[in-house]
C-alpha cells in the first residue's frame, strides 16, 4: 500500500526533529494524536495540530499521559493509526497502557523526546536515560520495538517505519528522540506519496460471527477488525484465549503470552536495522544510537585519518537488540566503545553480547554538548594501550 497523498508534504524542507516527527506521522497515515503537553515534545504536537484539520486527522489533549495513551489505544481500535508524544515523566505514566497495548495487541506509536531525569530532571537537556525503561518499563513479559533516530531526516523515516511495524506485528512501537534532536534543524526530503510504503492493517475478512480477536495467523499475529462493524468482539487485558475471554489458568497464560514474545523474537532478523561504517577492518567499534551516533561518526572519521582502524555500528532499532551481530563482532575486534547520554544503560547489553571476548568501554557522553567528540577520541586512544581483555565494563575516567 502507498501513502495517502493528503498527509504527505512532498518536497525539501528545513525542519527540526520534532517537526519532522509530526510530518512523518502524517505521511505514515497517522490520523489520531492523543497527548498531554510536555517539554521538550511540544513542537511535535504543535506541528501535528496545525496540519491535522487539513489532513483529516484529529487530536485531543487529555488530562494526563495515562489517559493520553488510553485514548490512543481506543482510537486505534476504530481503525485509525494513532500515536502519542511525550517525554520521560510522561513515559513513566504511560507504562501501564504500554503493557495493556501489548496485551490487547493494539498497534500504536509512542514518541519519547528524552530529557534528563530522574524525577522532573532538566526538561531542556538531551539524554538517553529512558532507553531501558522503553524495553522493561511495564510489568510482565513482552517484546517491543524501539527506534532511535539521529537526524530530522531519520526521524521522518523511522516514524513511518514505526507505524509500519506496529501494524505488521500489532504492538506499540516507540521512537526515542531527545531534546537535542527535537530542536536540531536540518534539511528533510519528503518523497512523493507513491514512493512511501505503508503497511496496511491486517483485517479479518470472514463473516461477522466467525471472528475470534486473538486467533493467530502462522506468524503469531492475529488479524484485527474495526470496532462498530458488527463483529461483536470481547477483548480483555486479563490472560485470555482466542475468543478474548479471560481464562485463569497456567496453560492459558502460556498460550496467550508466549506468542506475544515469539511474534517479535522469531522475526528479529526482519526488524533489526543497524548501519555499519568501516567495520570490515576495524579493531575498535563504536556502538551508538540516537544523536550520540552523530558524535560517534565524527570521532570515527578523525581517528581513521590518524591511522587508527575504527568502525561504527549505529543502531537504528535499539530493541530488539542486535545480539547476534555484536557477538560476531566481539570475536573479531579488540574493543567496543559505547557512548551514551546516561550513566550506562545499553552498554550492559553490549557487555552481555560480547561475553568477555572484547573490551567494552563506556562513556557518559553529552556533558560538553552532544556533538563534542573529545571523550570518544580519548576512549579510542585508551583502547590502543590495552593488551588484554578485561572482563568488565571500563568506564572512561574524565581527563584521560
Amino acid at each position: 500500500m502507498k501513502a495517502d497523498p493528503k498527509g504527505v508534504l512532498t518536497g525539501s524542507h528545513n525542519l527540526s526533529g520534532n517537526q519532522a516527527c509530526a510530518e512523518g506521522a502524517l505521511a505514515a497515515g497517522c490520523r489520531f494524536l492523543g497527548l498531554y503537553p510536555i517539554m521538550p515534545a511540544l513542537e511535535v504536537s504543535e506541528r501535528f495540530l496545525e496540519r491535522a484539520p487539513r489532513v483529516g486527522a484529529t487530536f485531543i489533549q487529555m488530562e494526563d499521559e495515562i489517559s493520553a495513551l488510553a485514548a490512543v489505544l481506543g482510537a486505534s481500535w476504530t481503525g485509525k493509526r494513532s500515536m502519542t508524544v511525550t517525554s520521560g515523566p510522561g513515559l513513566s505514566l504511560m507504562m501501564e497502557h504500554l503493557g495493556l497495548g501489548v496485551m490487547l495487541e493494539t498497534p500504536c506509536v509512542i514518541i519519547d523526546i528524552q530529557s534528563v531525569g530522574p524525577g522532573l530532571g532538566l526538561p531542556t537537556r538531551a539524554a538517553q536515560g529512558d532507553i531501558m525503561q522503553s524495553r522493561w518499563g511495564s510489568h510482565g513479559d513482552y517484546e517491543i520495538v524501539v527506534f532511535a533516530p539521529s537526524s530530522p531526516q531519520e526521524m521522518f523515516d523511522y516514524v513511518i517505519k514505526a507505524f509500519n511495524l506496529s501494524e505488521r506485528y500489532r504492538i506499540p512501537v516507540a521512537v526515542m528522540s531527545d531534546a537535542y534532536l527535537a530542536r536540531l534543524q536540518e534539511n528533510v526530503v519528503i518523497p512523493p506519496a507513491e514512493e512511501i510504503d505503508i503497511e496496511p492493517r491486517r483485517y479479518f475478512k470472514g463473516e461477522t460471527d466467525k471472528y475470534l480477536p486473538f486467533k493467530r495467523d502462522k506468524d503469531f499475529v492475529p488479524p484485527m477488525v474495526k470496532i462498530g462493524d458488527g463483529y461483536r468482539f470481547h477483548v480483555t487485558g486479563l490472560t485470555h484465549d482466542d475468543r478474548g475471554y479471560p481464562i485463569m489458568n497456567e496453560e492459558c497464560q502460556e498460550y496467550n503470552v508466549h506468542p506475544l514474545v515469539k511474534k517479535i523474537r522469531d522475526y528479529t532478523d526482519e526488524i533489526i536495522e543497524v548501519q555499519e561504517t568501516g567495520i570490515d577492518d576495524a579493531e575498535v567499534v563504536i556502538i551508538s544510537y540516537g544523536t550520540t551516533a552523530r558524535a560517534a561518526l565524527k570521532a570515527m572519521e578523525q581517528a581513521r585519518s590518524a591511522g587508527i582502524k575504527v568502525g561504527s555500528l549505529k543502531l537504528a532499532t535499539v530493541w530488539p537488540f542486535p545480539e547476534k551481530r555484536i557477538f560476531e563482532l566481539a570475536k573479531k575486534v579488540k574493543a567496543f566503545i559505547v557512548p551514551e547520554m546516561n550513566f550506562g544503560q545499553l552498554v550492559f547489553e553490549v557487555e552481555r553480547c560480547s561475553i568477555g571476548k572484547a573490551n567494552v568501554l563506556f562513556i557518559s557522553h553529552g556533558e560538553k554538548g552532544v556533538e563534542n567528540i573529545d571523550d570518544i577520541l580519548s576512549a579510542i586512544r585508551q583502547t590502543q594501550q590495552m593488551n588484554e581483555v578485561k572482563k568488565c565494563i571500563i568506564e572512561l575516567k574524565k581527563g584521560v
Binding site: E63, H234, V235
Partner: protein
Amino acid sequence: MNLITSIFNKGIETSGIERKRISIPSDIPFSPEVIEKLGVDYFHTARGRAIPFGTGLKLGNPDLRVMPVTGDLMTLGGNHFVHGVRRNMELLVICVNNFIYKKIDGKTAPSTANKFSPYSTFEEPFNFPHLGNSCGAVYTARWTALHAEELAASIAEAITKPGLAVIEIIAPGPNYYTDIDDIDENLLKFYFDNSIIKNDTNPREVGITPEDKIIVGRFTDKKRPTFIDVYNVQLGKTIGEKFTPYGVTQTEKKKSGGSDGGN
C-alpha cells in the same frame, strides 16, 4: 452482574440504537458469555481507565455510542471522571457502586458509607451525581439494581444524550464469572428497600449516609455543547471555510438534532 447486564440489554433495546454501534469499555470483568449476548463490542481495559479509553473510541469513530462501565471510577479513575465530564465527550458513564470492593473482600472504596463495610471506614463517601452535575454532566441518575424498569428506561434515555451522562447503580459486588445466585440477595434487597425515588432532587442533597434512605431517581437533564461540537466551532473559527467539521456525518445527530450546541 448478570442482573445488571440484562438491564443493559433492555435499555439498549428500548433506545433503538443498532447494537453494533455500541461499545463498552470497562474496568470490571463481566462474564463474557453475557456480554456476547448483548451484541456489543467490549473492552476490558486497565483499572479505572474506561473513560479515557472510551474517549479514544468515541473520537476515533464519532458514529459509535460508547458506554464506559466502571468500578474503580473515583479511585484510579477520579481525575479521568472529572475531566471526562468537563470535556463533555458523548459517553454514558455507568458507575457500579457496590460500596466495597467485593472481589478483595472487605477493602473499602471511596464511596463507602460507614455501615456498609464490614470493618467500617472513617472517610467521607463520594456523592457521584453531585460531583458529575457540578462538573457539567448533561444527565445524572442513580438507581439500585432492583429498580430494573427505571434503570433500563434511564439507560435508554441517557445513551442518546449529546454529552456525558452519569448513571450510578447501587448493587452488591460481583464475583468473577458470577451468576445471580452468587450475589448477596439480602443486600440487594436491603438497598432496594432502603431507597426512595425522588426525581429532580438537587444532586447536592443526594449523598448516601448510613442513617438516611438512599435517594434514587433522575437528578440532572440539561443541554451543553459536546466536545466534538466545540472542537468543530473552534477549529472552524480559526481555519475558516476550508475546515470540514469532524464527525458530523453521523446519522444519529441528524435525527436528534443534537449538534446545535456550541453556536
